[in-house]
Amino acid sequence: MALLEVENLQTHFRTPGGINRAVDGVSFHVNEGETLAIVGESGCGKSVTSMSLMRLIPEPPGRIAGSIRFAGRDLLKLSDREMRAIRGNDISMIFQEPMTSLNPVLTVGRQIRETLMIHQGLDKQAAEAHAIEMLTLVGIPEPKRRVGEYPHQLSGGMRQRVMIAVALACNPKLLIADEPTTALDVTIQAQILKLMLDLKRRVGAAIILITHDLGVVAEIAERVMVMYAGRKVEEAPVAELFRSPRHPYTQGLLGAVPKLGSSLAGTATRLAEIPGQVPDLRKPITGCVFAGRCALATDLCRQYAPGLEEKGPRHIAACHYAAKGAIAA
């Protein structure tokens, strides 16, 4: 059953240079306990999508339209008070920057306690005990001591663990992780990903993982949605997507991933890059959003925007030519 159903989400920003259509008509769903990855390059609208789900976009200049049905309720129709009761409780978030996402002048314990006291109505003692429990759960040694420490006394990896503890304290149904490992060392990245998966299994939360790291996607996601220029261009189960990407943009993304050991094996090739720039989202786009950078684009692509079509089992993509074997690289 779908926990979250997003229908025609449009997040636009009023700017001096015109209306920036950061997210323009994106629909997707997340099932209970499922992990959906949203991938795309910087500026494709993936972070704005996640912030829109939490209604953390400042309005104005932002404006969110469409519908976001979470557990049967349209989040866009809730009052601010109702929305606050959902944030941090039913849906919580982990951010990219563990160094700056925790409040530097409040103790770690206080920052975990807060959500418990607001949402679960725990008193200070109970919340403190639960905070220590959460720190133990996310693998922080000496939790009783750490709970009274400040963020600057912790390393980056530890801070991200604290962020996870904050996010999972109230057993959310949905966890949105916006580039949770991008700012961390590779060894720490693996630990944090494993931790997220362990905890997800324990609390049964669904995860929306926003990333541009396809290695991370392959590791933990079940389904992948590819975004480009504020639109969804492809969506498929993770194995299917890696095996047979249909959209030229997705193929470009996969081609840009270096293969470890390829030079030793003598199979090294020049990394494929996607030429050109993301289009200016303040100008109306006719035709396919990717046409300007696509090697296969034809006049058809430049005139008519392709719709999302079924290209395989549970696999959809928005490309006029995706069905044809010619581009299945």
Partner: protein, 313 residues
Amino acid sequence: MLSYILRRIVATLPVMAIVALFVFSLLYIAPGDPAVVIAGDQASPEDVERIRQSLGLDRPFLVQFGSWVWRILHGDLGTSIFTNLPVSAMIAQRLGPTLSLMIVTLLLTVVVAVPLGVVAAWKAGSLIDRVIMGFAVFGFSLPVFVVGYMLAYIFALELEWLPVQGYTPLSSGFWPWLENLILPAIALGCVYIALVARITRAAMLEVLQQDYIRTAKAKGLGQGGILFIHALKNAAVPIVTVIGIGIALLIGGAVVTESVFAIPGLGRLTIDAILRRDYPVIQGIVLLFSFVYVLVNLMIDVVYTLVDPRIRY
């Protein structure tokens, strides 16, 4: 922490010594010979010379300075040339009203200016923000005596809500004490409130951009909790600094305010002493104000460590 405070106190000693040297030099820099002033218009040169000798004004500068410092360290600020009373007693007598005025002004400022600044930052660019900042510019540009007379005219003479002037000690009741201090505190606090509100707004604007504020929102905190706990505590260092610097403004402003509202405090004593060239009194007051200022700075440094755990000494 305690050792830090002790070290800081020791470090203020040279500052105080330099201040003392300046204060003492006043006698030599300022025009007019104190011996002539004390002796009066009818005195003969012999009288003046006698007075000069009795005050020790004929001895070398450093000797005079040394014995002056020695006496101060023993709590003796000298004797007023005009009233013949000990300077310390004269200051003690006037300390109550000035201290009352300063404390009420300080509290009023913090209670009014900080929330105004926070709201202005929260609603940055809105009408509320522009109104608050407009008042801040207004408050900043009006001299204390203009505000003082305006307030006295409106609230005391026309509306008769509050007394026009005067001072009642706290020992005769809280309200009679406060009643006399409200208008002076507003007049004196105007510039101070404007300054603190502006700094609060600026500091909050920067803090509200930070990632941890987004985190606080994502946790489901209400606006109040975000602004006054998560944001304000981070913005506190510059705000506390300006509140501290503002105490220097208060000391200067108190002199004018006390004159406008006929408050028998140190400000009035200062003016009287200057007009009478009563050097021991001037020296005593300047020394006291300097000491208070050094003390306030020390307190600010200690407050830093309370609001920001990253600051450790």
